[in-house]
């Protein structure tokens, strides 16, 4: 095998090996563990960068072998894989840095970082999977590796949330497996291919295809937290902040959304999906989820729960974007995969900083925190405005592109959804910002810790600021080559031209 075949495998293995090494390290090996973590993250980032450059020039990275009779295990890097892989490797690096600071002096760090790396390896596998079977492999691995992270604190509440999480995701996984097996029975082993496989499907199997599509979306929709399958997400908030950040921004919800995009674009094909009448209901469902979750977010008093409902709402943008059946809207959807990740991870980092530095968990405790923690609060503000879709931040690019796409596809009602969602986002984020900056702080913080010169530990301080800067940059510099927007345009160009 040539190097092009090995690079995806290496990218996958870096975090896998890191995980094994970390499990083997003693609990006290703090420096070594941090070194392994960061080293692996950097190596992986480098590999992804190499692949990004290669795929841009048209190189085909991939390897495959028969795993079970009749089914192949395929790793392949295409433009869309690398979008997700890039997101996960960049944010993994930042989250690792953050987590090192966050978990300072807490027990079970070896276990935590081991599963953490395993979780990222699964994400990488999901990104690089070349067919549904391989995708499913890593999709379930993700479920398993995130469970110990969700229940990490080991409290009753955490375990209860973990149970809910597992019930939802494993059931979703079972449905997904059924759908994949059925599809395999109907059509054989289908690699992900731009343009899909069913553009002129046999009329006899159309009924099965529709049912399979519904099952696929239902199975994937659990992780993507589409209404009414979103119930696990707000509960999973008991996890430590870096886990929430990773769960929301990169790993779990994105895996679901990524899978739905794969199914629509690379298994069925947009045209076939539209011809089978599957896209419009999906769009309505996504639109409803966007609004429903935003309304629910309004009533949450706990900061992380509010963010969780915001995630439910935002992830459905991706699905809405691809189900509008038009290239521009699809660009909007795909680019949100990255944008939402960057913005949401910023918000969760900040929520974690407030909790860790000042002991703040509820929104009504946040009065005046902006003066005590200006850097964190600035990052939070940028993230929140990004979510609202205020220009020139990342969220605006999404909304603008998706809105233009919806109009191009003659789906005017989407504009109303976008506007309503922005209003709701404003309604639940702006009061928080007001509290941060304009209220006088209460007499004392619930549980304050001090770290010398900076407002919080340096490990915790820089990651949110960096992602906040990225939130601004991906918006302001959206037209540069290799920006998320340009990359999404490349993906869609390849999808729609085939």
């Amino acid at each position: 095998m040539t190097l092009t075949a090995w690079i995806p495998l290496f990218a996958l293995m870096t975090s896998m090996i890191a995980s094994v090494v970390i499990f083997a390290l003693p609990e006290k090996g703090y420096r070594l563990r941090t070194g392994v973590n960061l080293g692996a993250a950097l190596v992986k980032l480098a590999l992804v960068v190499v692949m990004v450059w290669g795929v841009f020039r048209g190189v085909d990275y991939g390897l495959s072998f028969t795993m079970v009779p009749g089914v192949t295990f395929v790793l392949r890097a295409d433009a869309f894989s690398l979008m997700f892989a890039g997101l996960s490797s960049v944010l993994w690096l930042l989250t690792t840095i953050y987590a090192v600071g966050y978990l300072e002096d807490s027990p079970n760090r070896s276990r935590f970082f081991g599963f953490f790396s395993l979780c990222v390896a699964s994400t990488m596998g999901i990104a690089l999977a070349g067919n549904l079977f391989t995708f499913f492999l890593f999709y379930e691995m993700l479920t398993l590796s995130t469970y110990p992270l969700v229940v990490h604190r080991g409290t009753e509440k955490a375990l209860k949330a973990g149970r809910t999480y597992v019930i939802y995701t494993l059931t979703g996984g079972a449905v997904l497996l059924l759908a994949i097996a059925w599809l395999h029975g109907v059509a054989g082993d289908l690699p992900f291919r731009e343009g899909g496989h069913f553009t002129d499907a046999d009329p006899d199997i159309q009924g099965s295809l529709i049912l399979i599509f519904i099952l696929l979306v239902a199975g994937l929709g659990v992780k993507a937290a589409i209404f009414p399958l979103h119930g696990w997400l707000p509960q999973a908030m008991v996890a430590p902040a870096p886990v929430s950040a990773l769960l929301h921004a990169v790993a779990v919800v994105k895996a679901g959304a990524f899978g739905i995009v794969r199914v629509v674009h690379d298994i069925y094909g947009v045209e076939a999906s539209a011809a089978l009448g599957l896209l419009a209901p999906l769009a309505w469902l996504a639109a409803f989820t966007i609004l429903y979750a935003s309304v629910r977010a309004l009533w949450q008093r706990d900061l992380k729960r509010r963010l969780a409902f915001s995630t439910v709402s935002q992830v459905s943008y991706i699905i809405l974007g691809i189900s509008l059946f038009g290239p521009v809207a699809a660009v909007g959807g795909l680019v949100h995969l990255l944008h939402q990740g960057i913005m949401k991870i910023t918000l969760f980092f900040c929520a974690g900083n407030y909790a860790e530095t000042l002991g703040i968990h509820r929104i009504d405790e946040m009065d005046g925190a902006g003066r005590r923690m200006p850097g964190t609060s600035l990052a939070f503000t940028i993230g929140a405005f990004g979510m609202i879709g205020a220009p020139p931040l990342a969220g605006f690019i999404t909304k603008w592109t998706m809105g233009s796409g919806a109009l191009a596809a003659n789906m005017d009602w989407v504009i109303a959804v976008l506007v309503a969602s922005s209003l709701l986002n404003a309604a639940y984020f702006l009061p928080v910002l007001h509290r941060l900056w304009f209220r006088e702080p209460a007499a004392g913080w619930p549980h304050e810790r001090r770290w010398g010169r900076l407002e919080t530990s340096a490990w915790l301080f820089w990651p949110p600021l960096l992602t906040a800067v990225m939130t601004v940059m991906v918006g302001v510099l959206a037209s540069l080559p290799f920006s998320p927007l340009s990359w999404a345009e490349l993906i869609v160009l390849r999808e729609y031209s085939s």
């Binding site: 200006p374 220009p391 007001h434 304009f438 037209s479």
Partner: protein, 497 residues
């Protein structure tokens, strides 16, 4: 490109934008305070020293950026930069230590937004700057932190967000219709779009929130009085005009006749100019009166916007006059707002001088001869002559303008009246006084050297109204004075009971 414009424009927008970075160190607080008036200086140079017509392409920005300058934008940029400069000088003297850094941060951001939107030609950066100004403006409104300020801030924010969303939807629809990311392509596309009325409605409403269109104006009388005085001045003088600029650059003026929308705007303008006066004279606080006066003045401008919408042949002329009027009103209203914070010095002569300098810009608003107000009013009157306009409501415009002039002076008189009870005696901080004086001078004197255009409607020398025009200007003022006296006498009588 070797010319100075790109550097200047990047400085003009970039300097205020980076200014908040100074807040990182508390030691720089003093520097931040004194740098306030310097922030708009590059923009001022850009407006004064460069000729319109240049453009700057920023292909990496958002969906492809284009910043440029034409006559209209130059006038708005000049107004904005001037007003922010004088208000900045004023603010140096005005500000207390209370949350000083925070105020400076929001000041810088709001300023960057306000300046940026006047030069932005692509939709992305225009909307970005507009939103920046809106959201950062919230920080200025609620700065004092009182319950009243919070309430005003909430109303401001709710309405601003609703407005932003209407603008977003309108721009999206228009951009899709034009298949372009440039504002300059929008009017024509809107005129020909199948969703024309929806787009126009959204844009009028969206920018109308900023411009204080009646029924969308509620935030204005709440926010202006509670904001710190220099912030009220820019809110009322410059930021309101941003909404107007939004209309001017997006709506399909001169493309096609829209008598329906023209009528709507004329009714709205009438309602605004007279209704706001009725509500305004009932106010007790000087800055609230001024806020209603702003709504009323914007009502007059809305009248002209309506006329321009209804009669596309006349639109180019009307647009110039609107810009002129906006410039005049912005400067005059700015200096009036700043005067609300001055203290009366000791000594009768000085007091009289101060009162004079407070009164003259007010009277200028009402059209006092030899002031910018007279010029603006005359130009407006000429431009709206019935025989030159071709739509149904044209005949109502002249009486409405006259009524508006009466309303204007009544509000000014009411303002002066409330001010007598509110001005404190004492020494003014030097920078505060300097800022206010600069505003008055700019409004009364420097105005005449500015690059406005009366489209030949007023015979030169423009600063000297002809004899028949003096009477036209004067009689509404006399009516207003008579009404004011009547009210005074009536209130005395009521008190004696």
């Amino acid at each position: 490109m070797m010319s100075a414009e790109p550097v200047l424009v990047l400085l003009a927008v970039g300097v205020p934008l980076l200014y908040p970075a100074m807040a990182l160190r508390s030691a720089w607080q003093r520097a931040m305070r004194f740098a306030l008036p310097l922030l708009p200086v590059p923009a001022l140079m850009l407006a004064v020293a460069t000729d319109p017509g240049w453009q700057l392409e920023l292909p990496w920005l958002l969906n492809g950026g284009l910043w440029a300058m034409d006559e209209l934008r130059r006038l708005f940029l000049l107004l904005t930069a001037l007003l922010w400069t004088v208000a900045g000088i004023y603010a140096v003297g005005y500000l207390a230590a209370h949350h000083l850094r925070r105020f400076c941060v929001f000041w810088g951001l709001t300023l960057a937004g306000n300046l940026g939107l006047t030069v932005a030609v692509d939709i992305g950066s225009f909307y970005s700057f507009f939103a920046l100004m809106t959201f950062a403006g919230y920080g200025l409104v609620v700065h004092e932190g009182t319950g009243e300020a919070s309430y005003a801030g909430r109303v401001y924010l709710v309405m601003a967000v609703l407005g932003e969303m209407a603008i977003l939807a309108g721009l999206l629809l228009a951009s899709a219709a034009a298949d372009s990311q440039l504002l300059t392509d929008l009017p024509q596309a809107i005129a020909g779009s199948s969703r024309r009325d929806l787009i126009i409605g959204l844009l009028i409403a969206g920018f109308g929130v900023k411009a204080g269109l009646p029924l969308l104006h509620f935030w204005l009388p709440l926010a202006h009085p509670v904001a710190p005085t220099p912030a009220s001045a820019v809110l009322s003088g410059a930021m309101i005009k941003a909404g107007l600029l939004g209309w001017l650059v997006t709506l399909p003026f001169g493309e096609t006749a829209l008598p329906g929308w023209g009528a709507v705007m004329i009714v709205a303008g009438a309602l605004g100019s007279i209704g706001a006066a009725v509500l305004g004279v009932c106010q007790r606080r000087p800055k609230a009166v001024l806020a209603y006066s702003s709504v009323s003045q914007m009502g007059l401008i809305v009248l002209m916007v309506g006329a321009a919408l209804a009669d596309h042949g006349r639109a180019p002329v009307l647009l110039s006059i609107i810009a002129l009027y906006a410039l005049h009103h912005g400067l005059a209203k700015g200096s009036l707002f700043l005067s609300a914070g001055v203290s009366l010095p000791a000594g009768a002569a000085r007091r009289a001088a101060v009162w004079l300098l407070i009164t003259v810009p007010g009277l200028s608003l009402a059209g006092l001869p030899f002031t910018s107000g007279a010029l603006a009013k005359l130009a407006m009157k000429e431009s709206l002559l019935e025989e030159q306009l071709e739509f149904a409501l044209a005949g109502y415009l002249s009486p409405l303008m006259t009524a508006g002039a009466v309303a204007t002076l009544l509000l000014v008189l009411r303002y002066l009246w409330t001010l007598t009870g509110n001005l404190e005696s004492g020494r003014n901080p030097p920078m505060l006084a300097a800022g206010w004086l600069a505003a008055v001078v700019v409004s009364l004197v420097a105005f005449w050297w500015m690059p406005w255009n009366v489209e030949g409607l007023v015979k030169p020398p423009v600063w000297l109204p002809a004899a028949y025009q003096v009477w036209a200007l004067a009689w509404p003022m006399l009516i207003a004075v008579a009404l004011a006296l009547l009210a005074l006498v009536a209130s005395r009588l009521v008190k004696q009971r």
